[in-house]
Amino acid sequence: MSEPFEPKIVAFVCTYCTYAGADLAGTSRLKYAPNVRTIRLPCTGRISPMFILKALQKGADGVLVSGCHPGDCHFTHGNYHARRRWMVFRSLLDFIGIPPERVKYSWISAAEGVKFAELINSVTEDIRKLGPFDQYKELIEETEAEATH
């Protein structure tokens, strides 16, 4: 019997809004799926697409990036810049054949503890439905293989 698939998800969040929202979810004792590993960054503007790619390359099945709502950025417009980048990056992933649905984007403010918990649950469910990211996993295995001819 194989174990049911539990997706591994990496969340890159900004410290001012989404991380605070996650904190609120925690202090409010809201329960949500334990599949997400959260990495805190100063701003969504700091979340280079490289990070997303790296997470997938290290075996993540899905990635979530989240920050302040438009207009709320602590650095005034970091999230506006990020939004453009994500837009283009999504279509790039799609064209390369990496399902863009594996990467989720959201705005969550410091007050939205409930939204955070719900989002994590829904993202986890979505990724669970997509199944493990086998295509990359196979490539990872290939790089870990012994010397061949």
Binding site: P49, M50, R84, W86, I96, I98, W107
Partner: protein
């Protein structure tokens, strides 16, 4: 041939009058269909120049060679419209002063070469504007359409096959006028974001990073694809990115020197349908 003669005369004038210190053009290559970049500094050398439809390489990358323009002297360069767009982007990104560049513009249809009127990058804005108008938003290439119509899994398999051949020789990067970074992200090792190994996983990483860094900046001159020694159809990715930036942000790279880099600017009402 007439165009070539006109330009040879013009180059002689530019060099003998001391207007420019160097002219970057083309000379015959090792086979009849190849042309080599040529750098000349004296009027006597002007007859070595050739100009015909086989002159395809976008030479603008040479302009950002370290030290070339630092003496504030002028350089003349043979450019197709894509090359002129490159100059605009390089100027917009503060990599060069467009006033230092004398453009010897040309274009070709079939084997016929025609001159483009203008001296500085700014003189071509009308032409470039009309190119934007006449370029289809969606690339019209059979292979492109085939890739678009594949399922994601098929597309992944397609690129896996293509990228598995990549040897990370970085010819695509070196040939690209937009890849001017003195230290590319793949050459940085603290931290080492991109590993140097060219296994398929690493090749995906490199090619995705390359394409992303060129999104909204690529003028589709095709230097990268021609440079690739294993013939990866890099143009397809670049075209997809070009399509994205024009559809999403109405951005056609290299129209003029004041154009803001599309991924370093924003509008408050940019689309965010994909955000949860």
């Amino acid at each position: 041939m007439i165009t070539q003669e006109q330009y040879r005369t013009r180059v002689k004038e530019l060099l003998s009058s001391g207007t420019v210190k160097m002219v970057i053009g083309y000379k015959p290559g090792s086979t009849p269909d190849r042309r080599r970049p040529l750098f000349i500094r004296t009027a006597e050398e002007a007859n070595r120049l050739v100009l015909d439809s086989a002159c395809i390489t976008n030479l603008s990358g040479y302009l950002v060679t370290e030290g070339l323009l630092s003496d504030e002297k002028k350089v003349a360069i043979f450019l197709r419209p894509e090359g002129i767009r490159s100059i605009n982007i390089l100027a917009a990104e503060s990599q060069l002063n467009a006033d230092q560049i004398i453009i010897l513009g040309f274009d070709s249809t079939g084997s016929v070469v025609k001159t483009l009127d203008g001296t500085h990058a700014g003189d071509f804005s009308e032409l470039l504007g009309s190119i934007k108008q006449n370029s289809p938003v969606k690339p019209s290439e059979v292979l492109f359409e085939q890739v678009e119509q594949m399922t994601p899994a098929e597309r992944f398999a397609f690129w896996q096959e293509e990228f598995s051949r990549c040897i990370k020789c970085y010819a695509c990067r070196q040939a690209c006028p937009m890849c001017y970074c003195r230290r590319c992200i793949v050459d940085s090792n603290q931290p080492q974001w991109v590993n140097t190994s060219s296994h398929t996983l690493g090749n995906f990483e490199w090619n995705i990073v390359r394409a992303f860094h060129l999104a909204g900046r690529c003028v589709e001159c095709g230097n990268c694809g021609r440079a690739c020694p294993v013939n990866i159809p890099l143009r397809l990715i670049n075209r997809r990115m070009a399509q994205e930036v024009i559809e999403a942000f109405d951005h056609f790279p290299g129209l003029n020197q004041t154009q803001e880099p599309v991924l370093a600017s924003f509008k408050k009402d940019d689309s965010e349908t994909f955000i949860l």
